[in-house]
């Protein structure tokens, strides 16, 4: 397992009044992108990762299951 996790550049996010949005964009136009309404937890994780961060730190702050889930969904990727 990689020691770090990071947010891919094509993943963007922001907090909204209720939860937040994650925008996964690799092509032209919002029609070609995917967007998720996410919980506050996801935004908390992405803000905590702040680009890239030790996987152990993220797991300690949240949980291994959350990290595994976000990596599986491509919101986070395994880093070095």
């Amino acid at each position: 397992m990689a020691d770090a996790v990071s947010k891919p550049r094509h993943i963007k996010f922001r907090r909204e009044a209720n939860g937040g949005l994650v925008y996964d964009h690799e092509n032209y136009g919002y029609e070609d992108a995917s967007m998720y309404a996410v919980s506050d937890t996801v935004i908390d994780v992405l803000e905590f990762v702040d680009g890239d961060r030790s996987r152990a730190e993220v797991e300690a702050e949240f949980s291994p299951a959350v990290v595994d889930s976000l990596v599986a969904k491509g919101v986070l990727t395994d880093g070095e």
């Binding site: 922001r14 964009h25 967007m35 937890t41």
Partner: protein, 343 residues
């Protein structure tokens, strides 16, 4: 809208991701659009018969955003966390400051997509564009040589192919954009092959009765058998990108894929015109749907106002721009209606 398969709430992992909805994403008006279309000028070196904005040579408006105003607007977009800006016009590259504005956007890590007619892409311009990230180019081609040049002007097809050839070896994400018309729909496979041969994707846009397209509506709009052909063709071309809610459905009215294709006008996206006026989308630039100006009101105020206009747009029957721009008194979308009911 949105949504890809993603995870679902209740999965027990706490990550809580769900597809967002068209009318509000997270159940309430968004604090900012997900993406905007910014028509940076009405000036253009071409004068296309179907131009949605009615732009052309000498059409720049004197009150178009200055460089300083445009930079302030970009700063506000960044502050609001707008994810993506789609640049259009007119022809963006007739603005002398266009590359500076694009650098400002990409330096702020705002995904930037530029729709261009492809005739202004000299090597110096491409050198600067290639250094920008994230930036994507969309080059217009509305048919093979005869059909394209009949709409866009003599010799334009060859200029666009030349641009595609020069883009081929560059690290610039490029898409050929085709407005599907009665005249070019039969050539889609050849257009697809041409784009693919140059390492570019193909994106189809629907022809709408907007700008000069309003006058050309009856000349260019698809006939019913062509609409059916188009949707059958699309079913076999999963990698072709499409640009509006119309293509979100297949010929049977079923959801074609899981990308963001439902109408997000005024709820997830909006248009900013060359003078800074804000509308729900590029095809609904009507006075009764205007919602402020980025120079005089600020973009945040204009966006906040647009949420109240959203209730006046009914996208249930298809693209409201087509519906409202058509002569159909019931406001239905005649093309989508033909697909769904066989009228």
């Amino acid at each position: 809208m949105a949504s890809d398969a993603g995870g679902a709430d209740g999965s027990g992992d706490g990550s809580g991701t769900t597809g967002a909805s068209a009318a509000g994403g997270v159940g309430a008006p968004l604090s900012a659009p997900v993406t905007i279309t910014w028509e940076v000028t009405l000036g253009c070196n071409l004068h296309c018969d179907h131009c949605l904005s009615g732009s052309g040579p000498g059409m720049q408006r004197p009150e178009e955003l200055t460089t300083e105003e445009a930079m302030e607007f970009i700063a506000e977009l960044d502050e609001m966390d707008v994810f993506q800006v789609n640049i259009g016009g007119g022809e963006p590259f007739v603005r002398p400051d266009m590359l500076d504005l694009l650098e400002e956007l990409t330096d702020r890590d705002i995904s930037t997509c530029v729709s261009t007619n492809g005739t202004q892409l000299d090597e110096t311009t491409l050198d600067r564009i290639e250094a920008m990230d994230p930036l994507f180019l969309q080059v217009s081609m509305d048919g093979l040589r005869a059909e394209n040049d009949a709409i866009r002007g003599e010799g334009v097809y060859d200029q666009v192919v030349d641009a595609l050839e020069r883009l081929e070896d560059r690290d610039i994400g490029t898409t050929v954009n085709t407005v599907v018309t009665r005249q070019n729909v039969a050539d889609l496979t050849e257009i697809y092959d041409l784009a693919e041969a140059h390492g570019a994707g193909l994106r189809l846009n629907r022809f709408r009765p907007s700008g000069r397209g309003e006058d050309a509506w009856d000349e260019f709009r698809l006939e019913e058998d062509q609409i059916r052909f188009l949707h059958e063709w699309l079913d076999g071309k999963g990698d072709v990108r499409t640009g509006d809610s119309f293509f979100y459905l297949n010929a049977l009215g079923e959801v074609r894929n899981n990308t963001l294709k439902q109408c997000g006008a005024g709820s997830m996206t909006c248009l900013v015109d060359p003078v800074g006026d804000v509308y729900p989308c590029a095809f609904t630039q009507w006075e009764h749907l205007a919602s402020g100006n980025v120079k005089t009101d600020g973009f945040q105020a204009a966006w906040d106002e647009i949420a109240s206009l959203r209730s006046r747009i009914d996208d249930h029957e298809g693209c409201p721009a087509v519906a409202m721009g058509s002569s159909d008194p019931n406001g239905e979308d005649p093309q989508l209606r033909a697909i769904l009911s066989g009228d």
